[in-house]
């Protein structure tokens, strides 16, 4: 008989245990923020490398979107997101960028876009700068995961002589100078020409680029007859 009681009790306990309702899994931690940017810029990493070189000289700034993502539940009220710059890990200073460090995550939303404005200052033609942005604790949010609690942005405007200038491009553009290279970029929108590669421009296309550059040079010189375009060595730019 004892035997039967133990068996029945065990079976009953099993039924009781299985009859308990399962509760949903809920985020139990405090609300946090992680940051990132466009995958086309980060390529899945925590870094962005940007160059102004290919842009016409009239382009003086650009904007990189920093996305602050919510880790946790949405709420029906606005909350404060804070970012800060790690100065020790940065070389960019205030003329180089504008970054609002406090932003609002709107009610019922889980991401906010923070614009990082990077400026094309003159010193960038000599040397690039970098900016280390990280999540800061705010009254509403703690810092998120280590892998995504920061974003590194580097930018420059440093021109470099293309490797194939002497072998392939001299036929069209003549001898190299930084000023001439900048002129070509302003005229064509292209910094490097893979002429000679199977998927590169052909001779006729290169001739077209040359004519665009020459047209721009002549225009500049006609508008500045007393100050014809010279390169960094003081030599007149010719093609």
């Amino acid at each position: 008989m004892k035997k039967y009681i133990y068996v029945i009790t065990t079976v009953l306990l099993i039924f009781i245990a299985n009859s308990c309702k399962n509760e949903d899994f809920l985020y139990q931690d405090v609300a946090r923020i992680r940051i990132g940017s466009d995958v086309s810029l980060t390529r899945g990493s925590d870094s962005i490398s940007y160059s102004f070189v290919s842009y016409n000289k009239n382009i003086t700034f650009d904007t990189i979107h920093v996305y602050a993502y919510l880790i946790g539940k949405t709420e029906n009220y606005d909350r404060e997101v804070k970012l800060e710059v790690d100065v020790a890990r940065s070389t960019a200073t205030s003329p180089h960028y504008v970054l609002p460090t406090t932003y609002t995550l709107k009610a019922n939303s889980n991401v906010v876009t923070i614009p990082l404005k990077i400026n094309r200052t003159a010193d960038l033609t000599m040397k690039g700068v970098r900016l280390y942005i990280k999540v800061a604790e705010s009254k509403d949010f703690k810092i998120g995961t280590n892998e995504e609690n920061h974003l590194k942005v580097a930018w420059s405007d440093v021109l470099q002589k293309p490797n194939n200038w002497d072998t392939s491009l001299m036929e069209f553009f003549g001898s190299y100078s930084l000023v001439k290279h900048r002129l070509i970029i302003d005229a064509t929108g292209i910094a490097e020409f893979n002429y000679g590669d199977s998927n590169g421009p052909n001779w006729s296309e290169m001739t077209n680029y040359k004519r665009l550059a020459v047209a721009l040079l002549l225009k500049y010189n006609s508008e500045n007859p007393a100050n014809l375009l010279k390169d960094e060595n003081g030599v007149l730019v010719i093609f």
């Binding site: 001739t207 040359k210 020459v214």
Partner: protein, 525 residues
């Protein structure tokens, strides 16, 4: 019996004489029995002459010999050579190039792989025994378009189309008149009034533009190869095509006073590069030849100073793309003109109203000064630059030419010192080596007007510089005509010698109807 010596000698002498006479008789008999032969031209000669061929076509001739019997040991060869057959440079010498051999059989079956143009095909038949030869020559035309002939750019009901026309006087195949060929190909005319028709006999396409659209068309079937925007790496904002020339391995296109180019001997996408840079506004005319051979120090030397020469209307001067830098991105001036030169190519100071390469290697340039006076300049740009391009002559006044102030259309001879011009109603010829005046060739009735003229310069054709076609328009009846004139390029008068020579009974001018309002003519092989 003694046989006397003299009897022996006599006997031997008789035998020898008999032998000699027999030999003599055999030779005489052989000579008298040779049968002359000739090539029978029936059935193939005229057919070959009036046919036109595409490059790659097979040319055939089923030929027989007259008096074939007795002419068995024969050799045959068919040759083909250009009608403008001339010497070419080989090393330091000028030599006659060998003609190409099409076949070595009596009957001909051979592919024609020559580029489009006018050629002679010659059959040489030789009896190897007698060394007698028979030579038969027939002219043929190799074309590269749907039809070769005169392409007339015309306005039909405010839109653009092309008629293709060939007359008997052209002696290049059966006469034809294909009307509104663009409509035939596309089902409708090209929208917009006609603007420009550009052709080259070396290329398998042409360019057709109205005021609102246009592009590159295959000359085989008029199919569209590229529209206006696709013709350029950086297309201009407006269609304003004014001139075209294919020369020196370069297609030159003038749009809104700017010069665009495709270098056909370089890798390209059949797109025109951005225009030659600089502050200029180009006249639409360019010389089709900027080089020539000269015999210097015992050698034939090719002289070429310029890859191309243009006239800048804005600063009223000639400019060049130098031959030493044919891919230059901007124009260059010429050397400083010498003090004894009758005119300064770097500073003409007048507006060009017409230009065309012509007689004596001159770039005929008709200028108009600020008071409307016209004059003819004849610079020769086929020589090297020594500061004086006016070796042919100085400035030739045209103010004594009849009605020159109203001249609208021009044509230049290559075979003589004559240019022609037309006003609204009258056609004139001016011989610049004459007395300074022009002579009237023709007057239209008052209800008709000239809309264009074209002096035929096909190069290598025996009628070169002898035929003028004029577009004529009857505004009241809304009907268009082609008037075909034949002139003497040396005398500058109406002259039907060519038509007479080829056995034609045609008027001068001959009048053809069934056209729209013709804006320009272009000849296409």
């Amino acid at each position: 019996m003694k046989i006397k010596i003299f009897q022996i000698l006599f006997f031997v002498g008789c035998i020898l004489s008999a032998l000699n006479s027999c030999v003599d008789n055999n030779i005489n008999s052989t000579f008298n029995d040779v049968t002359s032969f000739d090539v029978d031209t029936a059935g193939w000669y005229n057919k070959m002459r009036i046919n036109t061929y595409y490059k790659g076509d097979t040319i055939k001739a089923n030929v027989t010999l007259k008096n074939a019997a007795g002419n068995e040991n024969m050799k045959y060869y068919w040759l083909i050579y250009s009608t403008s057959y001339s010497q070419v440079t080989e090393g330091n010498k000028l030599v006659w190039p060998p003609a190409d051999t099409l076949s070595k059989k009596l009957s001909l079956v051979a592919p024609l792989m020559k580029k489009p143009g006018f050629y002679y095909v010659t059959l040489v038949a030789e009896n190897l025994d007698t060394k007698r030869m028979s030579i038969t020559t027939v002219p043929i035309t190799i074309k590269n378009s749907i039809e070769s002939g005169l392409f007339a750019l015309e306005e039909i009901n405010g839109n653009t189309d092309v008629d293709i026309f060939r007359s008997e006087r052209m002696a290049m195949g059966n006469p034809i008149h294909l009307k509104q060929y663009y409509n035939t190909a596309f089902g409708h005319a090209m929208p917009g009034k006609p603007q420009y028709l550009a052709v080259s006999n070396d290329l398998p396409y042409l360019y057709l533009f109205s005021e609102s659209e246009g592009g590159r068309l295959s000359s085989a079937d008029f199919s569209l190869m590229a529209d206006f925007s696709q013709l350029f790496y950086n297309a201009p904002s407006n269609i304003q095509v004014e001139g075209y020339l294919n020369a020196n391995n370069t297609e030159f296109l003038v749009n809104n006073g700017k010069l665009y180019s495709i270098y056909t001997n370089k890798a390209n996408n059949l797109k025109f590069s951005s225009p030659i840079a600089g502050d200029y506004s180009m006249a639409p005319w360019m010389p089709s030849q900027t080089s020539d051979y000269a015999y210097i120090d015992g050698n034939w030397v090719l002289l070429q100073n310029s890859h191309m020469v243009v006239y800048d209307q804005k600063y009223q001067r000639y400019l060049q793309i130098p031959a030493s830098n044919p891919y230059a991105a901007q124009f260059s001036s010429f050397k400083t003109t010498t003090a004894d030169a009758p005119f300064d190519v770097n500073n003409i100071g007048k507006k060009m109203v017409y230009g065309e390469y012509g007689f004596n290697s001159s770039f005929y340039s008709i200028f108009e000064n600020s008071t409307g006076q016209k004059s003819l300049y004849l610079p020769n740009f086929t020589t090297i630059d020594v500061g004086n391009f006016s070796a042919n002559s100085g400035v030739i006044p045209m103010d004594q030419c009849q009605n020159i102030a109203n001249a609208k259309y021009y044509g230049v001879c290559g075979a003589g010192p004559v240019l022609v011009y037309a006003t609204d109603n009258e056609l004139y010829a001016f011989n610049y080596q004459g007395n300074g005046t022009s002579n009237k060739l023709y007057s239209l009735p008052s209800n008709l007007k000239f809309t264009t003229i074209h002096l035929w310069r096909p190069g290598g054709h025996p009628a070169d510089s002898k035929i003028i076609w004029a577009g004529v328009w009857d505004e009241a009846a809304q009907k268009g005509y082609v008037y075909e004139f034949e002139i003497s390029p040396s005398a500058g008068i109406l002259d039907s010698s060519w038509a007479d020579m080829i056995g034609l009974q045609v008027d001068n001018p001959a009048i053809f109807d069934g056209f729209g309002k013709i804006k320009m003519f272009r000849f296409k092989l």
